[in-house]
Symmetry: C2
Subunit: 131 residues, 2 copies
DNA sequence: AACACTATGTAATAATATAACATTAAATAG
DNA sequence: CTATTTAATGTTATATTATTACATAGTGTT
């Protein structure tokens, strides 16, 4: 799971996502890594799929965007929570032990056994609240 | 917020979503309501936007699909939780008072004030667990 | 060498969603 | 009841997001 075991394209895409440090869209990634030899959407999507799978990045579903994981303990993408500012679109990954414990052990009445969750909070970040 | 106050297109779209009773995609809706005179994607998306806004339906972000709200107390779409079966794609809206109370009062360390959340749990439903 | 498995390259296309602009219906204020 | 403004509609075109299909190449195992 270290960066060493990633393939060439996976490394390129991950490097870019880590560098921009904000939610980034697939076609924006594509445009920005074309100088590195990546030419087609599929090359990007394949790398993204794999990076999500191994937990190096996460998809912000409500934005169709990807962010690097900041949170070494988020169990390979199986338990993710984000706060999203509806004004400036800043996204940050929430790592709150009580929250993740609560959700991991949450049991629905219907008895379904969960193995994964994704939670997105929306609001105004501090900067945008002041304005 | 009753069905009476909905516009013609909104009623048509909502009726269809309530009838199919499972997550439904925008273009599937379009194909199925064309006999009612709805011809273009935009007519569907506009109605969907409004219906989401007033809480009659919800968007399942991870699936780009829409479901009717089963849950009269889910505060106009501001606090939603779903369970999603990764095998049969069955989706059901979770209404668990403790969960929603916990999430509504959740405060991030960074001090961001939330006004909305969406939570999606993934797993296997009872039927699919047996197989 | 044979096999399985993962990753790549490339072109075409599918699926999802919005922009722009013209028009009509409904609500409400004077 | 009429001027104003607000919400909804109709239509065409286009933008954005994502996958199918097929051919090829690397990597590790037996
Ligand atoms: Zn993470
Ligand atoms: Zn902000
Ligand atoms: Zn609901
Ligand atoms: Zn199932």
């Amino acid at each position: 799971m270290q960066k060493e075991t990633l393939s060439k394209n996976q490394k390129i895409i991950l490097d870019y996502i880590e560098k921009v440090n904000e939610p980034t869209k697939a076609y924006s990634i594509l445009h920005n890594v074309q100088k590195k030899g990546i030419k087609a959407p599929l090359q990007v999507y394949r790398a993204l799929d794999r990076l999500v799978e191994i937990g190096k990045i996460h998809k912000i579903e409500s934005r169709n965007a990807f962010v690097a994981c900041k949170n070494s303990n988020c169990q390979i993408s199986k338990a993710t929570a984000f706060s999203i500012c509806e004004s400036c679109e800043e996204v940050s990954e929430i790592s709150d032990h009580k929250l993740s414990k609560y959700l991991k052990t949450f049991q629905e009445k219907a008895g379904m056994k969960f193995n994964k969750y994704n939670l997105e909070f929306f609001g105004l970040c501090k900067k945008c609240s002041i304005k």
